[in-house]
């Protein structure tokens, strides 16, 4: 049975259903147990399983480190980092341990850790509470990085992340937490590493992730008024990303726009762009366009933060440029 719930509720439900299914799943993080999480994502779990969800000290390195160790010892930890920006404190654990455990132990042990963290700009919290962090970790082999765009995806992908024997960095967007959508009540898993076509089109491909999916869909409506049919790809997983889906679409449209939240230089859009120009150059009839945020830290004041952020109009402009090239 499907009903309309929020993105936050979908994440909560995924964890609860996985805890029902597998007693090795447990949760740790700051204020996750008794208060139910700073953003309320772990509500209702402590009353049910007081022995399977733990409030920690402010110790991100220890949170991820403990999760790593527990995982190789056979448990399935979900480690919450209160804001993705604080993953910086646990950076060493994530890139040097979480990501490399499977490689280290081959078949003898694996590291089925899920690190959940809300990310992104748009809540007026300035430069230490607004980062999107996919690109911080993109250059780390061994990690799976998932950034769901809707409640439906949030639930299905988190369930897959918890079941996966690979470590998953599961990034939630703070601006989407209250977004509503149809979500099946029962448990279901969506494949990691696979994107979806959100909208068919023949003139230009727009690759989007998480917050930019909605922007791209808005842009597509605008473009339609001008007779441009945009195809929107929602990647869902950014590492490893769905190359086949992108290639197929670009083969059809010959034009590519990539809409990425976060600074431009060294962002994931650069990776997609490089991959397409390296392998599928012959499909292209126009330069690839990256639509991103600016290469600056996120400011507090709304005027400044909005200037940093990309929007649908930027995507429209880039798509028009690609089409008219």
């Amino acid at each position: 049975m499907s009903r309309v719930i929020t993105y936050a509720k979908a994440i909560n439900e995924a964890m609860i259903q996985e805890m029902e299914r597998d007693e090795n799943v447990f949760i740790l993080g700051e204020d996750v147990a008794k208060m139910g999480g700073d953003f309320g994502l772990t509500q209702g779990i402590y009353p049910r399983w007081p022995d399977r969800i733990f409030d920690t000290a402010l110790s991100e390195s220890a949170i991820v480190g403990l999760a790593n160790g527990a995982a190789i010892a056979g448990l399935r930890p979900i480690a919450e980092i209160m804001f993705a920006d604080f993953a910086g404190v646990a950076f060493d654990q994530i890139v040097n341990s979480t990501a490399k455990m499977n490689f280290m132990f081959q078949e003898e042990a694996n590291c089925p850790v899920v690190i959940r963290a809300p990310q992104g700009a748009g809540i007026r919290c300035a430069y230490h509470h607004s980062a999107v962090v996919e690109s911080w970790f993109l250059n780390t082999p061994g990690l799976v990085i998932v950034s769901p765009a809707s409640p439906y995806e949030a639930k299905g992908l988190l369930i897959s992340a918890i079941r996966s024997d690979d470590p998953v960095l599961f990034l939630e967007h703070k601006v989407l937490l209250n977004a509503k959508g149809e979500v099946p009540q029962e448990s279901y898993a969506l494949p990691l590493g696979k994107g979806v076509i959100e909208r068919d089109g023949k003139d230009v491909t727009i690759v989007a992730l998480q917050l930019t999916v909605k922007m791209a869909l808005e842009a597509a409506k605008e473009l339609e008024k001008e007779g441009i049919a945009a195809e929107i790809i929602n990647l869902r997983t950014i590492k490893p990303y769905d190359e086949e889906l992108i290639a197929k679409s670009v083969a059809k449209t010959s034009r590519l726009v990539i809409a990425q939240e976060g600074p431009k230089v060294g962002g994931w859009a650069a990776e997609i762009s490089a991959m397409v120009s390296e392998k599928y150059f012959e499909y292209l009839e126009a330069p690839i366009q990256r639509v991103t945020c600016l290469d600056v830290p996120v400011s507090f004041s709304p005027v400044l933060e909005d200037y940093y952020m990309l929007n649908a109009a930027d995507i429209v402009a880039a798509a028009k440029e690609a089409v008219s090239f």
Partner: protein
């Protein structure tokens, strides 16, 4: 140790300023004028005022996220602090920082770093620079009980103690880190004991007693200025508000707040002023009126101030390079 009447009056003024500045912040955060989140120090004013007033302008100061109070006293004109918290162009950082990032290096206010524990290691560097240059400036860090969980705090104290760096750890123990009680996050009976393992001198004192705060901070500052290395002061206090303004704080018992409201640092110091120092109610009202007027002027300045210009977001990222503007 009893402070003299004039000093005590001046500290009362500081605390009254902090209390009422934050009352305005609370009001304008609740009505949506201030974007984002604000963390209020209401109830902890004696720690904020006492520590900063035991320091001098050149000392390096590291307020924490609940640090409006300390920031107000570091040397910046309060109206520029208020405008910053409101995100206006006239703010001390042009609106780029907001409540959590009010920095003013002209008075060595480092401001807060949104990553808890981070300032503990940055302060090693300012303390090191002071030692390197043979000045006797100290570096004072405000940190909460919860923040003590961060590894950086421990690395910091280990290095400061070994290198005898002039760092003062001002540990504001208000009993909670968001919803998590201090005793569920740390094994020590008294957090002060954390310093014992590093051979660092420490005190645990009543953080609502302004005289005790000043006295002990001055003692710690003295040690640091003389090259005796770091020390730690645990200030036992309480935040009246939840973690951020608007947090219902349902994780704590109502009696606790009632108890601490009776121990209001402003009321306690007013009592000393009147009963011990013979200050009249009229004198106190005169101080309060002056601050009230100053705050109304700050508010008017702030509300009349423009928003930043959007492309200001591009400035100050690099000293020697520019950043591409929006197309």
């Amino acid at each position: 140790m009893a402070l003299n009447k004039e000093r005590l009056k001046s500290l009362y003024r500081d605390m009254y300023l902090i209390r009422n500045f934050e009352e305005l912040i609370k009001e304008y955060a609740a009505n949506g004028t201030i974007p984002g989140f604000v963390h209020l120090s209401t109830g902890q004013e004696a720690c904020e005022a006492g520590v900063v007033r035991a320091l001098r302008t050149t000392d390096y100061k590291y307020p924490d996220h609940r640090g409006h109070g300390a920031i107000l006293l570091c040397g910046t004109d309060p109206k520029y602090v208020m405008a910053e918290i409101f995100g206006r162009a006239t703010g001390i950082n042009g609106g780029r920082g907001g409540s959590m990032h009010v920095h003013d290096w002209s008075c060595h206010n480092h401001g807060f770093n949104g990553i808890q524990g981070s300032t503990c290691v940055t302060a090693l560097g300012t303390a090191f620079a002071a030692k390197y240059r043979h000045t006797d400036d100290v570096s004072a860090i405000f940190m909460g009980d919860g923040t003590l969980g961060e590894g950086t705090c421990h690395e910091s104290m280990n290095m400061a103690a070994t290198w005898k760096l002039p760092v003062i750890y001002c540990l504001i123990n208000n009993g909670y880190a968001i919803s998590t009680p201090s005793k569920e996050a740390h094994p020590q009976e008294e957090l002060r004991q954390w310093a014992d393992g590093y051979g660092v001198p420490s005190w645990r004192i009543d953080g609502n007693d302004i005289e005790a705060v000043v006295e002990i901070t001055e003692e710690a500052v003295n040690l640091a200025r003389k090259g005796k290395g770091p020390s730690l002061i645990e200030f036992v206090t309480y935040r009246w508000q939840g973690h951020f303004a608007g947090d219902p704080a349902s994780y704590r018992p109502a009696e606790e707040l009632e108890y601490w409201k009776k121990r209001d640092p402003l009321i306690l110091s007013k009592k000393v002023l009147i009963e011990r120092e013979g200050v009249t109610q009229e004198e106190i009202s005169a101080i309060e009126n002056e601050v009230d007027n100053e705050l109304q002027a700050c508010l008017k300045f702030t509300l009349d101030s423009p928003w930043p210009v959007a492309c200001d977001a591009l400035t100050h990222v690099y000293e020697e390079f520019s950043v591409e503007a929006r197309q």
